[in-house]
């Protein structure tokens, strides 16, 4: 594991649950290893019909880490991550400019199948959205079935593994045939995470995954994000700065100006962003002196 330092540092942070507990050395250590880039955004812009929502985003998302996107409502953070798995284009008349490289390959290249991109970049949504007609096991298996996996034993294995990784297995192992909707909100969200990782994506995008959950369920999901980062690349949108500080290695701050176009203001390691913001607007936002 190339980033053990990062792991232990943030595990401590999330255990204590305060903003920043990492020391300077740890901060340096987490910045030091040259990590693989999972996603590179190049001059990304997102349109809704004639309206420009996000413009000029350049950022690199490191593999096997948690990257947080923070910013006030309407700053385009959800729109931005939806450009990373081509979900943005489901909005009416939506359009994306620039390029997004997934492991070096531009996902907006002509001839690229968006469905294939989404198999590699999974997504967890704000509100837990299990498939209402499916059982717990069927929900987790849904992605595999879409991929055409037929073998029952393989599906069962991967369902079990995904549920274990998403820390839900112990709670549901005797109820796999029950409807996914019968679970609590927090369990449903972990079910959705299990469903997303069952197809073994490279990146998991999470769009405010805890905003519909209570604090205890939120902590569980946050712990899970840290654990998932060992194997996957996590990008999480949150309007909760404490959450960003607790779970992420790097944080991006976005803001929409007078023109209502969201832009990336500052993007650096989480401890730097929260302790030594370079931009006045970042400082105003994280200290709550906004507007």
């Amino acid at each position: 594991m190339p980033d053990t330092h990062v792991e232990s540092g943030t595990a401590a942070a999330s255990a204590i649950g305060v903003h920043i507990v990492r020391t300077e050395e740890e901060a340096a250590a987490s910045a030091a290893p040259a990590q693989r880039v999972a996603i590179r955004a190049e001059n990304v812009e997102a349109w809704y019909g004639p309206k420009l929502a996000v413009a000029g985003v350049n950022m690199e998302i490191r593999a096997n880490s948690v990257t947080a996107l923070i910013g006030p409502s309407g700053c385009g953070k959800s729109t931005l991550i939806r450009t990373f798995n081509r979900m943005h284009e489901f909005a009416p008349a939506a359009r994306v400019g620039g390029a997004v490289f997934l492991d070096g390959e531009n996902i907006y290249e002509r001839g690229i199948d968006p469905a294939r991109v989404r198999q590699r970049v999974g997504m967890v949504f704000q509100k837990p959205n299990p498939f209402p007609t499916m059982s717990i096991a069927e929900n987790v298996a849904a992605g595999l079935r879409f991929l055409g996996v037929r073998s029952k034993s393989e599906i069962n294995d991967r369902v079990e593994r995904a549920l274990k990784v998403s820390a839900l297995w112990e709670e549901v192992k005797n109820d796999l045939k029950k409807p996914g909707m019968a679970l609590s909100g927090g369990q449903q969200q972990r079910l959705c995470i299990a469903r997303a990782i069952a197809v073994e994506p490279e990146v998991v995008l999470m769009d405010e995954p805890c905003s519909a959950l209570d604090p205890i369920a939120t902590l569980k999901i946050e712990d899970l994000m840290r654990e998932l980062a060992v194997q996957y690349t996590i990008v999480v949108v949150t309007h909760n700065m404490q959450q960003a500080a607790r779970v992420s290695d790097r944080t991006a701050f976005m803001l929409a100006g007078e023109d209502h176009v969201g832009r990336l203001v500052e993007y650096r390691s989480t401890e730097e962003l929260f302790t030594r913001p370079q931009d006045k607007r970042t400082e105003d936002y994280i200290t709550g002196r906004f507007g």
């Binding site: 979900m87 991109v117 949504f125 509100k127 498939f131 209402p132 007609t133 849904a142 879409f146």
Partner: protein
């Protein structure tokens, strides 16, 4: 002014208003309740009337025997029950797949000019009188074939069923929350798989209710069968011959000269209503426990 006196003043000032609103609320609730009661009264009157008139004619013979020679009391309407079953079944088999396809198209791909036109046409179709549909099929199928057939009757019934099921399917598919579709897309499901494996099953309980509604409607139609299936004194299971149906026989017997015909017509009406009621209840029982579409 301290906050408490402010609050009590607010309370006093609004007490009259509050009372007036409460009264208005009660009056309106009562009015709506009465309207709702009046709306369902006809149903109970019909059921009561049917039971009163129809029970007498109901017998095993009615279900198992074919009609006697006119004027000879006794006999049954087995041929009409069998014919209704065959024609309604055939109409459902022809109409439902097309209607569901049409409804799904309207919901998923109908947010454009083509969708607008088709939706309008479907609505027009729903408004065509059923006897006109019968005449149309008479011209289209019966005349060229020079033969009244159950098949022609079934096609006429399918045409009546089609717009009902299509529009209900559209509504039900549109009710499937966006978040459910997004979940499927985000797993890398192409659009057709999302529609087929996620959206349709989620909308299914609603669609089945719609199919049922339509089946109940066509099971009671006599007009579209008059010039298509014609009716048949004898039991026939050949869809390329004339065939009987319960509504047709009810019509013939109700306006016929014999008392036992009238009695059997009432019994058939009761039978028809009972069958429809049972289908409704059965489907409720099967699908009622399933998770329904959520907003």
């Amino acid at each position: 002014m301290n906050p408490r006196s402010g609050a009590s003043q607010l309370f006093l000032a609004s007490e009259g208003l509050y009372r007036r609103r409460r009264l208005a609320n009660r009056v309106m609730t009562a009015v709506m309740g009465i309207a709702a009661a009046i709306a369902v009264i006809p149903l109970f009157l019909i059921l009561f009337y049917l039971l009163q008139k129809g029970l007498r004619g109901l017998s095993l013979d009615l279900l198992t025997q074919d009609p006697n020679r006119p004027g000879r009391p006794g006999g049954g309407v087995r041929n009409s029950i069998v014919g209704s079953g065959i024609m309604v079944g055939l109409a459902t088999a022809i109409g439902v797949p097309i209607a569901i396809g049409c409804g799904v198209f309207l919901a998923e791909f109908g947010q454009n000019r083509a969708g607008l036109v088709i939706r309008f046409l479907v609505d027009v179709m729903a408004g065509i009188p059923s006897i006109t549909v019968g005449l149309f099929i008479y011209g289209l199928i019966v005349l060229p074939q020079k033969q009244f057939t159950a098949f022609a009757g079934a096609v006429a019934l399918a045409i009546i069923l089609l717009p009902v099921v299509a529009r209900i399917t559209e509504e039900m598919v549109l009710l499937v929350p966006r978040s459910v579709r997004e979940a499927a897309y985000a797993l890398g499901a192409p659009r057709w798989k999302t529609t087929l494996r996620i959206v349709l099953p989620t909308a299914l309980p609603g669609i089945i209710t719609g199919v049922l509604l339509a089946v109940s409607r066509i099971a009671g139609e006599a007009a579209p069968l008059l010039f298509t299936a014609l009716g048949n004194q004898f039991n026939s299971t050949n869809v390329f011959h004339a065939m009987d149906a319960l509504p047709l026989r009810i019509f013939v017997y109700a306006v016929g000269p014999y008392d036992y015909w009238h009695e059997q017509a009432w019994a058939m009406s009761l039978l028809l209503v009972t069958i429809i009621l049972f289908i409704s209840l059965a489907v409720r029982a099967i699908f009622g426990s399933r998770v329904t579409v959520r907003q």
